[in-house]
Amino acid sequence: MAIKSNSLWKLAFIRLRRNYLAILGFIVLFILVFVAIFADQISPYGYEQQDYMMIRQGPSAKHLLGTDEFGRDVLSRLIYGSRISLQVGLVAVAISLFAGGAIGAIAGYFGGRIDNILMRIMDIQLAIPTILLAIVISAALGPGLFNLMVAVGITSIPRFARLMRASVLSIKGMEFIEAARAMGASHTRIILIYILPNCMAPLIVQSTLSVANAILFAATLSFLGLGVQPPFPEWGGMLSAARPYLRTNAYLSIFPGLAIMITILALNFLGDGLRDALDPKQKR
């Protein structure tokens, strides 16, 4: 009998492969990342390149998705915009994942007073509406891509902290942690080798779904004028700029809107697929 050994990660991957929607989401995201990386090669025009002959012209052979009010190619701006959206999504989530994860892990593992203090701070933050908090942070830091990422990242720290704390608490009670202590393992080793790898599954799922959230949130802030400043093409910013022309040139709103929607949908499909794959017991 041949022994084929599959770690839990590998099993999860096998399950994920069977989920068509998740695979679809993954393919869309893969294309998006590809487009973002090779934007310079792919896009037909530069994002700032203006064509004064072609102002607010609908889709045509020359400009596949039309041009905006400065005669810039919408397709090219969407292509460059994917860079910004993905960057915002990934960096913002990285910020909340590391900060929230660390806070949650410390609170959960050590418990007691530390836990109490950290989690009450998180509670206070949760009590402030996220959009207000983000506006305040962006206003304080000033507009700009990096500040936008920080603002979006900070707002979802509590969510990650809570999730991490809950997973740590459940893992901490397992007998194999006690077994590790009986072997003489140190706190650091227990956290790094025993607890963290067993907490990863929910965090991965949450991160995927949060990237979607962050992109949406960044678009919202840009729409409000607090995010990435013109002429940088951010999808939310493009939507905002297209607002005056909603009745005359609807395509200006539709295409960035579609770009945001497809990205979010792809991320959510992948996130749901990951959740089912990583935690088969929680299947609905």
Partner: protein, 328 residues
């Protein structure tokens, strides 16, 4: 406390051990004033129902939980007062096998990693080759086929997982092993295999076991001496044969009579105890068993009985059981 009191042949000598947990403003008496000894190379079976404190006791003995009071002499030295270095040495010599072979193994680790873990943590091997050789020897010792070395716990059945747990406990060449319900999660045919393995290991290597179980038949099979626990206290302790043939404490008698026997025509008078085990939180004074004991007297509810030697080697904590004159 001087150390020479402990007789040399007792590997483990526990005196007045207590472990209380804070539950809100109250105290949960998990282990209350327990004393016993285990001679080197012998097995003490510790029986009791759920919540009687037997697992807590096992964890306190090997230092996984801090004792509230009392002493644990290991080879004549008080293990509760060990310094860091002595403690790490003690860790190697006193190991534990857990009940649940499903939750006691890290699901992300392969069989190799699981068994190598104690070797790596305690740096007992010089290099990786040595670790891997030792792992293979250990797998062979506990009867795990070498081809399983890359498997993960979720791919194995309960019996094999428990063998991993045993291999891991043996990795550091311990002298004393706490076996906390090592077979109660296993099916009967697998249970027999694991019990035989434990018996063989003891015969070959002279391990000393503290065998914790709720299953009287299993304890009967593995133990040299048996102690019965009820609500944090040892109520009776005797050699295997004596305890099962002539139990003196009423609780032991009820416990023995309650075990269903897989045979016909053995009609025993079953003693049905009334009610449930009372709460171990701030227990009432007097004998812990008094609330369910059909033979209780006035003194039982006011004064807790001491564990006394009523016959040589036979200890009972009951007001109604008097020492046999001239024998003790």
């Amino acid at each position: 406390m001087s150390t020479n009191i402990t007789a040399a042949e007792n590997l483990l000598d526990i005196r007045g051990l207590k472990k209380y947990f804070n539950v809100g403003k109250k105290l949960l008496h998990a282990v209350d004033n327990v004393s016993f000894t285990i001679p080197r190379g012998k097995t003490l079976g510790l029986v009791g129902e759920s919540g009687c404190g037997k697992s807590t006791l096992g964890r306190v003995v090997i230092g996984l939980l801090e004792a509230t009071a009392g002493e644990v002499f290991f080879k004549g030295k008080n293990a509760l007062k060990f310094n860091a270095q002595e403690r790490s040495e003690f860790r190697k010599q006193a190991q534990i096998v857990f009940q649940d072979p499903f939750s006691s193994l890290n699901p992300r680790m392969s069989v190799y990693q699981l068994i190598a873990e104690p070797l790596i943590i305690n740096k007992t091997c010089r290099n990786n080759t040595e670790v891997s050789e030792r792992v293979k020897v250990l797998m062979d010792t506990v009867g795990l086929a070498e081809r399983l070395i890359t498997s993960f716990p979720h791919e194995l059945d309960g019996g094999r997982r428990q063998r991993i747990g045993i291999a891991r406990a043996l990795a550091l060449n311990p002298e004393f092993i706490v076996l906390d319900e090592p077979v109660s999660a296993l099916d009967v045919s697998i249970q027999a295999q694991v019990l035989n393995l434990l018996a063989d290991l003891k015969d070959e290597r002279g391990y000393t076991y503290l065998f914790i179980s709720h299953n009287l038949s299993v304890v009967r099979y593995v133990s040299d001496e048996v102690a019965v626990m009820y609500l944090g206290q040892v109520v009776e302790k005797a050699s295997n044969v004596i305890l099962f043939q002539e139990p003196l404490h009423f609780y032991t008698q009820a416990l023995l009579s309650a075990v269903p026997v897989a045979a016909l025509d053995i009609k025993k008078d079953r003693i049905l105890l009334e009610g449930d085990v009372p709460s171990p939180i701030d227990p009432a004074p007097g004998c812990r068993f008094a609330s369910r004991c059909p033979n209780r007297e006035e003194i039982c509810t006011s004064e807790g009985p001491a564990l006394i030697e009523v016959r040589p080697g036979h200890w009972v904590a009951c007001h109604r059981v008097k020492p046999e004159p001239g024998k003790a």
